[in-house]
């Protein structure tokens, strides 16, 4: 019986994770994220107006037939701005986070193979993690000035230690697994072990973390834009749109609804994806 239990507890193939994404929680998450991503990608097709096009229909309109989400202070169509604004967040989510993850993973790999690098990497990670993310954001914004680039740098900087530690721990633990030792004993090189065992094994926990980090990235962009150190006007982003909408909440209530829903869909979606992947991983 112990054998059967052990078999059930053994990690599954990645296809299991793929399957987890296609049902239940995972599917809901995927759909939520997918809708927002698609809306952003198809912005030029879907948006009735340009993101910065000032219209003659009047400003701070509530929802009308022509402007489902109303217009903003300078008479721009909020729906169009929302669709284009998603793109900034997509940039942050799908470029900044993976860059941070890649750098962090590389550093983690290096740290797990070379003792000296390990000491340096570990202390660096400690150091970055010792700054709460938002304070790190404010600090970097002071040096670099606000903007999308700063938001991305903050996210990259915040992700490096997270992925670095994750990869380092997972390399070290995978390397001690009996079957990896068995390969080492027959003469597998470090590179071989890395490629054949460590990476496939770490991939799942990395994907889970990637999803979590992507939801955090949406948060960071929003919080930074809210504090005025994020994306700069007139560029729309979910954070700036929420900020604008909140500012006009007594006049045009509908303004804030769109970006808010998009943020919640993204964060919730990524959260659900990470949960379902995590569950699949635990078996």
């Amino acid at each position: 019986m112990s054998g059967a239990l052990a078999a059930a507890a053994a990690p599954r193939r990645p296809s299991q994770a793929r399957a987890a994404l296609l049902r239940g929680q995972g599917l809901v998450g995927l759909v939520l994220v997918g809708i927002v991503v698609l809306a952003g990608l198809l912005a030029p097709v879907l948006a009735p107006y340009g993101p910065n096009e000032q219209l003659a229909d009047g400003n701070l309109l509530e929802s009308t037939a022509g402007h489902l989400l109303g217009t903003d202070e300078v008479s721009r169509d909020v729906l169009s701005r929302l669709l284009y604004g998603i793109r900034v967040d997509l940039l942050v989510i799908f470029i900044a986070v993976p860059i941070g993850a890649a750098i962090g993973s590389l550093v983690g790999l290096l740290a797990s193979t070379w003792g000296f690098a390990d000491v340096i990497a570990q202390r660096t990670f400690d150091l970055i993690l010792a700054f709460p993310a938002l304070i790190l954001a404010i600090t970097l914004a002071t040096i670099m000035g606000p903007g999308v680039v700063t938001v991305s740098v903050v996210i990259i900087a915040a992700e490096i230690p997270i992925f670095g530690r994750l990869v380092r721990t997972s390399v070290l633990s995978v390397r001690e697994l009996p079957y990896v030792e068995a390969s080492t004993v027959v003469g597998a090189s470090r590179w071989w072990v890395l490629r054949r065992h460590v990476l496939p094994n770490s991939l799942e926990s990395l994907t889970v973390q990637l999803a979590v980090s992507m939801s955090v990235a949406v948060f960071v962009e929003g919080a930074m834009s809210f504090l005025g150190i994020g994306v700069r006007p007139p560029t729309p982003s979910l954070g700036t749109l929420i900020n604008d909408g909140m500012r006009n909440i007594y006049v045009a209530k509908v303004q804030v609804v769109g970006p808010l829903v998009a943020v919640v869909m993204l964060v919730l979606g990524f959260l659900l994806i990470s949960q379902s992947l995590g569950k699949a991983r635990r078996g």
Binding site: I135, T139, I249
Partner: protein, 320 residues
Amino acid sequence: MVRYLIRRLPSALAVLALASVLIFLLIRLVPGDPATTLAGPGAPPQALAELRSELGLEGSLPSQYLSWVGSVVTLDFGRSFVIGGDIGTLIAEGLGNTLVLAGAALAIALVLSLLAGLAAVILDSRWLNAVLAAFSTAGLALPTFVTGPVLILVLAVLLPVFPAGGTPPGGPFEEPGATLEFLILPAICLGLPVAAALSRFLTESLRTQMRQPYVMTARALGIPRRRIVVTQVLRNALPAAMTALGIQVGYLLGGAVLVETIFAWPGLGQLIAKAIGGRDYPLVQVLLLLSVVVFVAIQLATDLIHAYLDPRVRLGGRSG
């Protein structure tokens, strides 16, 4: 315990030392000369020189650093140039307020997550679990900068139950009743994501503990399930939860920047936003260092509490 502390101390101190160097250098990385920015571009050279010396911008970098560290260690922070006043006083006041706010948020988070975790494990009902999962997901998915204004809108403006922000007339320490009234919305706003994360973690680790063989042992001895949960399972889940809590407390510091701005709570978060906005470099330096010190201290404290709660760590290896 002491031995454990001694073991953890060097790495904590290393982080502090590195952070102090980094903060020191960061300020010097800011484009433009801090003294010129603070004095205004038209300031007379003599005033500028005076300012430079007061800012500690004279001499080589290492000597600047040493003198800065020296003054910080002796709690001589100097004065704030933009906000005005003695930095020590500013920080003391802000710290008091932030501690009250963060403490309240933490209390809310602890109570909520304990209730959620215990209810989930003891009652183990399907719909309750679904409700709790929905609660924690919502808590994690709603950004603070949205919950804050919405809380104000609903509970202060539409239904004027609580004040929309600010501090009680006599400051947060004068009248506990009034303080509570002012504290409740910002504390909820700050504590909600923490409560969500913590309850999720606690529930998960309680469930893991429930599968441990010692629970079966206890049940086989006829100890009622509820009692096992409260006296044994929770006790076992606590050390790990403490570590998670430590990380969450770190987030509280960052979240305070947003929440204090939204609710006009005059704490460190607001101070740091103001200091950076005004390019008040001496204050920024000290505040950044303080946030790192607090963070490291919290990590150390949670490690120690973890050690204290877990006899395996506290007492070391086997002695019998």
